[in-house]
Symmetry: none
Subunit: 214 residues, 2 copies
DNA sequence: CAAAAAGTAGGGGACTTCCCCTATATGGAA
DNA sequence: TTCCATATAGGGGAAGTCCCCTACTTTTTG
């Protein structure tokens, strides 16, 4: 049995995936997460073989950041990105964060099953319109060695800042004090060499932070 | 028993919905469709009370067109649009094609049940971030080519706000006083029925106010 | 033409953010 | 083990934002 963790913020889609995948005897759904942080937690607790990861997650962490963290602390877990974005930059990012699979949401169950089984067996399974040649290029090149300057916590902050949350709102959301939020903001601006909020937002847009916001 | 027809191209989601809805004794799933044309056929054959309609359907006919056809030939059938798009344009379009309900895929089962029951009873049930004021405006104005509620100047402001400019920066940029900027912001929030900056930003992104920014 | 909407601007007070510090606990790397 | 990075939190003051008003043009519309 392949132990699978489902990560998607849409309850209905999670439930649908569960029903679908549980009809295959090889698969056992061991848990569901609706946020990135919860996914990281559950990946540690439940030790799934495969994580089925949506990209757009609410509350700070997106699917890429969550995948990155899971792979760092638990390198045997395989991750399949499940998304509707059929874009080069996303596939590339999936590879850099260590996902072994990438499959589009309009695929049918058999393909999803195939993806899960293949990555479980240690193979890679990228089903997109991006050509194999390009994917192989990325896999060969050291796409992995491009660490972001920002820490996990700082990335969460960036996301919330870009989405227009005030310091107070972020503090409440992240269960920290306003002072800590201020510190993080200062550090982020310094690290990125920016000196205004709109520069930060344009930076975030260029680096595709917004695509995952919804 | 409310007779329901499910329309969604994703097999997994259809199956999940069936399981979910059949747990309620008021509901009976009388059929499933995976394309718009099939939905029109089945709506005639099976005479459901409510059609649960996804928007993105393959093979030509989308959920809106299918809904329109169903309503034309069978005006007693109520339609609930089920989608992940929380965007003004879609809600507006749903109203124009005669759908009595609009509900997001990240909603929970209870809300979906409520939506089905309400529209079955002849009420309208639109569960989106679009404000009630705007929806009522559309319902009154026959909703055809409803222009955005915001004025030109206000749209300019929205764009700068979303891009993270401060009041002072906007005032300088637009050659008006900070007080005027504050007034515009207040008016914008009121018109859209929002009460926080991050709601405004998410609204703007969803409604593609930012197209000029990229 | 009269009325409404759009765009402008201000007062004043409460609240928030920003910017300069300092400080502590923790965990990992040299 | 010592040191650095991360994450946390606070003081204090200046600056900015928000929210309640009012008020004046100009343009649009009934």
């Amino acid at each position: 049995m392949i132990r699978v963790l489902l990560v998607d913020d849409h309850t209905m889609i999670r439930k649908g995936l569960r029903v679908l995948l549980e009809s295959y005897s090889q698969i056992k759904i061991v848990g569901e997460s609706h946020t990135g942080n919860d996914a990281i937690l559950k990946a540690n607790q439940l030790e799934p073989d495969v994580v089925l990861m949506d990209l757009s997650l609410p509350n700070g962490l997106d699917g890429f950041s969550a995948s990155n963290e899971i792979r760092k602390s638990n390198p045997f877990v395989k991750i399949v990105i499940l998304t509707m974005h059929d874009e080069e930059i996303f596939v590339q990012k999936a590879i850099t964060v260590g996902a072994h699979g990438y499959i589009l949401k309009n695929s049918h169950g058999e393909l999803l099953l195939q993806a899960i089984v293949e990555v479980y067996r240690g193979k890679r399974f990228y089903k997109t319109s991006v050509s194999e040649e390009i994917i192989n290029l990325w896999l060969k090149s050291d796409a992995k060695t491009m660490p972001s300057v920002l820490t996990l916590r700082e990335k969460e902050l960036v996301r919330l800042i870009v989405l227009g949350y005030t310091n107070k709102e972020m503090a409440d959301k992240l269960l920290i004090s306003v002072k800590t939020v201020e510190n993080h903001k200062t550090n982020i601006m310094q690290k990125l060499g920016l000196d205004s909020k709109h520069q930060l937002i344009q930076y975030a847009i260029k680096n595709r932070y917004l695509d995952l916001a919804f």
